[in-house]
């Protein structure tokens, strides 16, 4: 079976500005893939090209095995898309807006009404369902957008900053929703700036910078590449002279003081050595844990590095 998304040498130029450059992206079926990167790095442009909403300057795109420019209907019937700023017909109610989408997909009948009802319930919009969208808050529109995407029962969903404007509770529920989509075998491509969320739900991520996808892989893979495979040990301890003692342990690369203790970067898992050193110095040890690298750190470390190199 073909990959859900496959691009080769995908490029988009606006005059002299290169928005996306030579992108080779493969998203396997059933995968949750996150695209990350600073503002203006080409995430939205990439998504637009996947949907045939803008024409690539060069390169090829295959979505569910088809070319979205040459066979748009076959692609769009099976792909759900949530734009970064989602809009609805203000004077129509949420339900009517969904009904219109259903009709555009050729879906009719009582089963559709039931499905709309179900989605509105799932998004917590039942109370507002028959009010004009004009009266919705930003986050309510975003929820309606998610219902709109799921309505056609897509095989692939593409979400551009889906949690924008959602309250923490809704954002959390949204993460659960994405997981349930994955369990049902859907493929998900999403862009986001909320790195801990991305880390929580994605199988792999791609890091964009200035139109190029410079890094791609699972979070541990990226950590290895960016953070040099370093281990991080968080030590919660008190005592005199601990900092120099910890720094003196062979294999410790860096010691950073933080609230209530230290953060060590080490070559190996040095937890026993750290414990021993603290005790030897007469310090009081409260906690010791080996830390998974967070996407947040990877992201920051990576962009600090490339920006330093560029400067």
């Amino acid at each position: 079976m073909m990959a859900a998304i496959e691009t080769q040498g995908l490029t988009k130029r606006y005059g002299r500005l290169v928005a996306v450059e030579d992108l080779d992206l493969v998203v396997e079926r059933g995968e949750v893939f996150g695209i990350l990167g600073p503002n203006g790095s080409g995430k939205t442009t990439t998504i637009l090209m996947l949907l045939g909403l803008t024409e690539p300057t060069a390169g090829t795109v295959r979505v569910l095995g088809r070319d979205p420019v040459r066979e748009p209907l076959k692609v769009k019937r099976r792909v759900g898309y949530l734009p970064d700023t989602v809009g609805f017909y203000d004077e129509l109610s949420g339900r009517e807006n969904l009904r219109y989408t259903a009709q555009l997909n050729g879906m009719r009948g009582p089963a559709v009404e039931a499905r709309i009802e179900e989605l509105l319930g799932q998004m917590g919009l039942l109370d507002a369902a028959d009010r004009p969208v004009r009266t919705y808050s930003r986050g309510m529109k975003q929820r309606l957008g998610l219902a709109d995407v799921l309505l056609k029962e897509p095989e692939l969903v593409i979400l551009d900053e889906p949690t924008l404007g959602l309250d923490p509770q809704a954002a959390h529920e949204f993460l659960g929703l994405i997981r349930s989509l994955k369990e049902r075998g859907l493929t998900v491509l999403l862009s986001s700036h909320l790195l801990h969320q991305v880390q929580a739900i994605t199988d792999r991520v791609g890091l964009f910078r200035k139109g190029r996808m410079e890094l791609v892989g699972s979070v541990p893979e990226l950590a290895k590449k960016v953070l040099g495979g370093a281990y991080r040990i968080r030590v919660r301890a008190e005592g005199e002279g601990l900092e120099s003692a910890l720094a003196a342990i062979p294999g410790v690369l860096r010691v950073r003081r933080e609230n209530g203790g230290f953060l060590l970067e080490t070559e190996r898992d040095l937890r026993p050595d750290v414990a021993r050193a603290v005790v030897r110095e007469g310090g009081r040890l409260f906690g010791l844990e080996l830390e998974e690298p967070s996407l947040d750190e990877i992201y920051r470390a990576y962009f600090e590095e490339v920006n330093r190199d560029a400067a």
Partner: protein
């Protein structure tokens, strides 16, 4: 749940029905209806006043309902020629950029429909709205006319007035397509409305003047021969006919005034054997205005195609 296999017009009906409902329920529709009804009433009043005095002298009394003016009110035909373009522009100026502004375009175009279906659905909805309004006005005039003057319309008169309605619709279709085109080209509805009205003003006010200035340049009269004078007049007419309002005015004239036997400069030779003032049969009038009619439709198609070409390649960034 059934899914229809997609053709090029997949979704056209859905778009049409939604847009049509939007048009009819919109506030701007209420305003325009009020305007149209008001003018219809005013002109019918004027016409009835005048017509009462000439009953019996005129065979085409019913058609005079549409063409009679009484100071200071213009005839209904003059009113319509002025209002229909504005109505059409009002119905179409924000068709596409309005969706951009509401950020609905990306969402709609990621559904399985072609862009043509969206554009065409909107155009047809505008046209249907226009047709509905025109038909309502026609019924109003016919009804009131019969009520107040007691005259009975002949079959030919009804046919002629309905053909006039069709020509009006075709004329409105041109301006609707112009408005649609600008709504694709410009991102702001204000700009597109101004641009469409600008084009309309250009043709209504300035084009006749420009044609008058250009004709002597293209076909100068050097020696004052009748052939030269005629050629210049023909050139001027040909130029004037590039404007949809000229075509529409000619079509209106020939349809509502059966005694009009020719459009444009007439040579004495052409008049030979004609009895002046005898009305043309309907079929002949239709033949006479056929080119004008076709021209109006062609102009509509041209602007729609332009809109389509631009829209097809446009980037849909919300």
């Amino acid at each position: 749940m059934t899914r229809r296999e997609g053709s090029a017009f997949s979704g056209l009906g859905v778009v049409f029905l939604k847009e049509f409902a939007d048009q009819l329920s919109g506030t701007r529709m209420r305003l325009l209806e009020a305007l149209i009804v008001l003018t219809a009433m005013a002109t019918i009043y004027a016409a009835i006043q005048t017509i009462k005095n000439v009953v019996g002298e005129d065979v085409f009394l019913f058609l005079r309902l549409f063409t009679t003016a009484k100071e200071p009110l213009p005839s209904f035909v003059a009113f319509a020629g002025f209002l229909v373009p504005l109505l059409a522009i009002a119905l179409g100026f924000d068709a596409v950029n309005g969706e951009f502004q509401r950020r609905t375009l990306g969402r709609v175009l990621s559904q399985p429909i072609y862009r043509d279906a969206l554009l065409f659905g909107k155009y047809l909805a505008g046209l249907a709205t226009l047709a509905l309004v025109l038909l309502a006005v026609w019924l109003l005039i016919t009804g009131l006319g019969i009520l107040f003057t007691g005259l009975a319309a002949s079959g030919e008169e009804v046919a002629r007035s309905l053909l006039y309605l069709a020509a009006t619709l075709a004329y409105g279709g041109v301006w609707l397509a112009v408005a649609l085109f600008f709504s694709v080209v410009f991102k702001s509805p204000t700009t597109s409305a101004l641009a469409a009205i600008g084009v309309w003003l250009f043709f209504t006010v300035f084009w006749g003047m420009i044609a008058g200035l250009l004709a002597p340049v293209i076909s100068p009269v050097h020696y004052g021969f009748p052939e030269e004078v005629l050629r210049q007049a023909q050139t001027e007419l040909a130029l004037a006919r590039l404007a949809p309002n000229t075509l529409y005015a000619e079509a209106t004239l020939a349809l509502l005034q059966p005694e009009v036997r020719a459009l444009g400069p007439v040579l004495p030779a052409q008049l030979e054997g004609m009895v002046l003032g005898t009305p043309l049969p309907l079929s002949q009038s239709v033949l006479l205005v056929w080119p004008q009619f076709a021209g109006l439709i062609a102009a509509g198609v041209l602007f729609f195609t332009l809109a389509y070409v631009v829209f097809q390649r446009m980037e849909i960034r919300a």
